[in-house]
């Protein structure tokens, strides 16, 4: 079977790019192999664990079950693109550090991208809603507790509720 390639033009972390991509490739493959963005992790490759999550036009997807060719014309954001233009760390990344929400770090990029999507909504979610929104990710190290704290605190701080955030 001869390989087929297709030109995929998209924006990755704010930069317009284009490359000929194997039509069978997943978005995970394209980002890791063609653009060497290695924050996208492979934990199952069938959409179960969430370690490969990235934002496509602002919406979080398991990039392992999203074909690379579907990314044509889309805006992709990966963890590498979450920091500011001069590498400034974002609030949610800092919260993961401050709340000791990082252990082995393998699931961390996916979790932060889902958190980024939730936080971008500008809404205040209940504890149960946060848990449900984050439940597409598996983590074996943290028991999710400190990840929950990081997300909730950042949400409250963005809403100007600093005192409530400190009490989480």
């Amino acid at each position: 079977m001869s390989k087929q390639y297709k030109l995929v033009r998209c924006t990755i972390n704010g930069k317009q790019v284009e490359k000929m991509i194997d039509v069978r490739a997943s978005l995970t493959d394209m980002l890791r192999d063609d653009y060497r963005l290695t924050s996208i992790k492979k934990g199952c490759e069938v959409g179960e664990c969430g370690a490969c999550n990235v934002l496509v036009n602002g919406e979080c997807f398991n990039s392992c079950i999203y074909l690379a060719v579907w990314a044509d014309g889309k805006e992709i954001l990966t963890l590498e693109g979450l920091a500011g233009p001069n590498g400034e760390i974002s609030d949610i990344q800092q919260a993961f550090i401050d709340e000791a929400a990082v252990q082995c770090g393998f699931c961390t990029p996916g979790f932060i991208m889902s958190a980024a999507e939730i936080l971008e909504s500008g809404r205040e979610y209940s504890d149960d809603e946060i848990r449900k929104l984050m439940s597409g990710h598996l983590c074996r190290c943290t028991g999710y507790e400190n990840i929950f704290r990081a997300v909730k605190k950042t949400m409250l701080r963005r809403l100007g509720k600093n005192a409530e955030a400190d009490a989480v």
């Binding site: 290695t38 590498e80 550090i97 252990q103 082995c104 699931c107 028991g143």
Partner: protein, 761 residues
Amino acid sequence: MYVGKKATRVDAYDKVMGRTKYTDDLCDKGAYIAQILHATIANGRVKSIDTSAAEAIPGVVKVFTCFDLKEKHYFPTAGHPWSTDESHQDVADRLVLTDRVRFYGDDIAAVVAEDEVIAAQAIRAIKVEYEEYPFVLDVLDAMKDGAPQLHEAYPNNILKHTTIRKGNYEEAIKEPGLIKVEGWYDTPTVQHCHIENFICFAEMTGDRIKIVTSTQIPHIVRRVVGQALGIEWGRIQVIKPYIGGGFGNKQDVLYEPLCAWLCMQLGGHLVKLDVPREDTFVSTRVRHAIRSHIISWVRPDGTYAARKLEAFSDQGAYASHGHSICAKGVGAFPQLYPCDNVECDAYTVFTNKSVAGAMRGYGIPQAMWATECHTEEVAAKLGMDPIQFRRKNLMPVGYTDPFSKNELYSDTFNQCIDKGMEATDYLRKYQAYQNQTGDIRRGIGMAVFWYNTAVWPISLETSSCRMVLNQDGSLQVQVGETEIGQGADTAFAQMTADVVGIPMEKVHVVSCQDTDITPFGTGAYASRQTYTAGFSIRQTGSLLKERILNYAHELTRMPPYNLDIVDGNIVRTTDGRVLMTLGELATEALYSLTHSQHITAESTAQIKSNAYSFGCTFAEVEVDIPLCKVKLLDLVNVHDAGTIINPALAEAQVHGGMSMGIGYGLSEKLLFDPKSGKALNNNLLDYKLSTFMDHPRLRAFFVENAEPTSAFGTKALGEPPTCSVAPAIRNAIYQATGVFIDEAPVNPHILFRRFKEEELI
């Protein structure tokens, strides 16, 4: 001082910025891709393998089968230190590829191809002819005469049987008035489910082979690859980068020997072997399922007259860590609740299933399930309060184990229990939840655990450390103990900063272990690292400090005993004056035209002590009886792990262990088809790992009784958090419903059966 403070993880910034490199991130894209063909029968022999169709696929480099092994080097896989005493060595029963199939998933052939898709196509194109044998999946069936035999050297499939005898059980049970309590307690086969699957790659330079691998035990991997390939150990370089969790699965040598062998068959070309999730479940390692049978003879006053335990541990198809898991669990039995007359029998038995190895807790979660389910039943039968009954019988202060010389120095059990009761408002809730009726009922329960840090005196405990002073007064630290997510590097940096007397940001822990340059150490297991590396860090740091102060003496003419290093400065202790910075000294020392010296230190600490670690779990549940569903309302762990090196990371570590305990207690079980031996739910959808939504807020508390034998007062915390969670949940379910469940996980299937039996539904 940094020890005891909430220092930020040294690797946290890189990890949240997506800069951390794991094995797959480091592999060159020109690598050949290896995939393994796994057997599709549970027991038998490969008669023939037809690789012609696979080899005809363009892009297939080569197909290797079990018949291509020219020399058969059997090797052990357990991540134990090597023993020079042959009788103490691990069982060498693996080959890189085997024609004798012992479980559905055994490794019989491998494809090397230019990419993953071609490799997968080739795997599907291989035709295998088997001679099938009858197989056995149940541990008690496997011990019966006439059962299918897995290994010739082990009649009745018994890998090992050990006993503990204390007093005289048979005589003791004749005492009049004793109450007998008997039960069988079962734990399931579960898997580690680290989010990074096992992966490694290998390539050769000259006659040496370099293996980069996701392992907890790089120095042990080097030795085992040498044994498996029959080559000198010095020709092998093993590199361990950041890894995406291990939990004991990567405390086994998994596919490094096969990957290295394939690489060597292909002229040393770079070969990557990336194990898919489905195969990680089946063909790496699992936790031993253990069936335990306990009989207790109790006096009406709540004291034990005699006790008996038989434990049957399901080893699966190969020896791996073997009997050490069951032996560790059974060894806890006479110690946790001491009794004058005890009989224990521990059996580890081969079955035609996935191979069991090390997993967080190493036999203790199974043992605590059995012991703490049983303890609750004894208290109930006596009509005693379950906590009062435990307090009466638990290991007393001053208890010393004659074998390890471990001692219980403080009233730690009572302190931990008190703290847990207070945190959960136990007394009020226990009272409120008595004698409930209705469909929805609540309960609160608890369980304790005992865990032994490190492996001395069963095995070697050694740690080596190197410190190298830089021109700016910072230093590199290297140890063989590995960062696998638990935060070891951060603890090591805190310890080093305190011992040498420099700011923590001046300590650069070299996270990556490379057997060519990293001092020897055996790696991450047995919750040993903060305890054992603590000795070598303290010893090496003291040595480095002595050398620095001797050089300071040359520069300042002050006697070394009047000098100290404080916050990165050379200080005259008599008046507190800062004489120079450590950076100034280090620069002078390196570039001096009169006495140039590269100031370094390296030393080995052999550890011949050990420490008990203790704690308990309190759980509160709500049980929906008609739906057979359990909702966890509250979960608290209390630990005495001695002095806590880093409270934030310790708490995080406890959360993770509690989470694994929740899965063990309520949802996780790897199932095998009784008709074929094939795993049925080897994926993260059907295997019920607990998720964000299955957890209440997790709370961790500490009782800090400094461990007197320890270099920094610390002892085991890595594995202990998993040990008592499942039985605590189960005991809470008992309080809610009055139904004892003796089989984990307590999922709706089990609850339905038990509620039917007890006529609740």
